[in-house]
Symmetry: C2
Subunit: 206 residues, 2 copies
């Protein structure tokens, strides 16, 4: 089953919206309600959930527990994936504090830096290591995902090290694109680009 | 002149790549060199720069100073835009420390929080205010951009306050989409969604 990137994005969002429902004691939800929260159409919600093999009823909607189980079967696939973060600056620390509470499918297991004063510590529950240990730590912990929060100059060398160590997906926060080999997935979160684009288009609206 | 979002994104990237060239004492650059750094085609670079009304020579390439001036004319448009950040947690602090060094076109002028212990301070050079002062501070400082780093529950109410105060562009880091009125530009940087999408597709590659 090939699922598109857009569908995976929305399943990730639905999971979080549904998670909130547990606290409000809702046991079922209609596609139009989920669509209103996710800012898409009810038809889109139904298509996405059909892709994920989750069935609802036209009279009672979707069962909330079934939705959670079904989406987790896709996103989690039976086990939590482990991630390594490189670059323990302000952004790196914020990421270490951010994700543990928010994604049940990925766990940041190790953080790396070249600065000796930042290594051999526990930061927001994550152990820190010297960058030279990256290959061995990635192998020992079966880490499959890399998160780059280094300055621009270091980003490509870190990406190369991560890929050589066997990492197959990189979330890149450095303000420069990285080159990766075929079969490695990357996602570039270029904060400066997002802000400058927003500034340009918001100016045109005012 | 209507410029596409993708072109604005690449102009923002070119500007940063060119900025680095200043330090390496390069005075000209060819489209194929810029394309290699930006991971796109030379034809794409030439089209983008033509859109930005920047001319090069086939024998010597583009003049680096002219490139900088030309791109800044588009992105900066003669003045720095001011931004307000709401939500001074770990991510908010990281954003306050991150942008001042990286975008010459946007300046974060004020930060807001509902926690009294976080207000009336200077964090990474930015003054902090109570959330109730948002409307007046936005008006006094002619702030046009909002950055939301609050928890999910607070995001929509903050977005509504920002829009009511006259803000026309919102960069949303909260893990939930926000509703905005027509004429307001938004960019949603959903870190959890990016990580979960990456985890899903990198698993399929391994």
């Amino acid at each position: 089953m090939a699922i598109s990137k857009k569908t995976i994005e929305r399943l990730s969002l639905y999971r979080r919206l549904i998670h909130d429902l547990h606290y409000s004691n809702r046991s079922t939800i209609f596609s139009h309600e989920l669509a209103a929260m996710a800012h898409c159409t009810p038809a889109q919600v139904r298509r996405d959930l059909m892709t994920a093999d989750i069935k609802g009823s036209s009279s009672t909607g979707y069962d909330v527990a079934t939705l959670t189980t079904g989406i987790n079967a896709i996103l989690l696939h039976g086990h939590i994936q482990k991630a390594a973060l490189a670059g323990i600056g302000n952004l790196g620390r914020a990421i270490l504090s951010y994700f543990p509470q928010r994604s049940p499918t990925v766990e940041i297991t190790a953080a790396f830096d070249s600065d000796p004063s930042k290594i051999g510590r526990i930061i927001h529950g994550c152990r820190t290591y010297p960058i030279d240990d990256l290959a061995s730590v990635v192998k020992d912990h079966a880490i499959t995902i890399g998160i780059i929060t280094t300055p621009r100059e270091a980003a490509q060398a870190i990406a190369d090290k991560m890929i050589a160590a066997g990492i197959r997906g990189i979330l890149n926060f450095a303000p420069i694109p990285i080159r990766v080999s075929t079969g490695v997935e990357t996602e570039h979160l270029d904060l400066t680009m997002s802000l400058e684009k927003l500034a340009y288009f918001s100016r045109r609206n005012s």
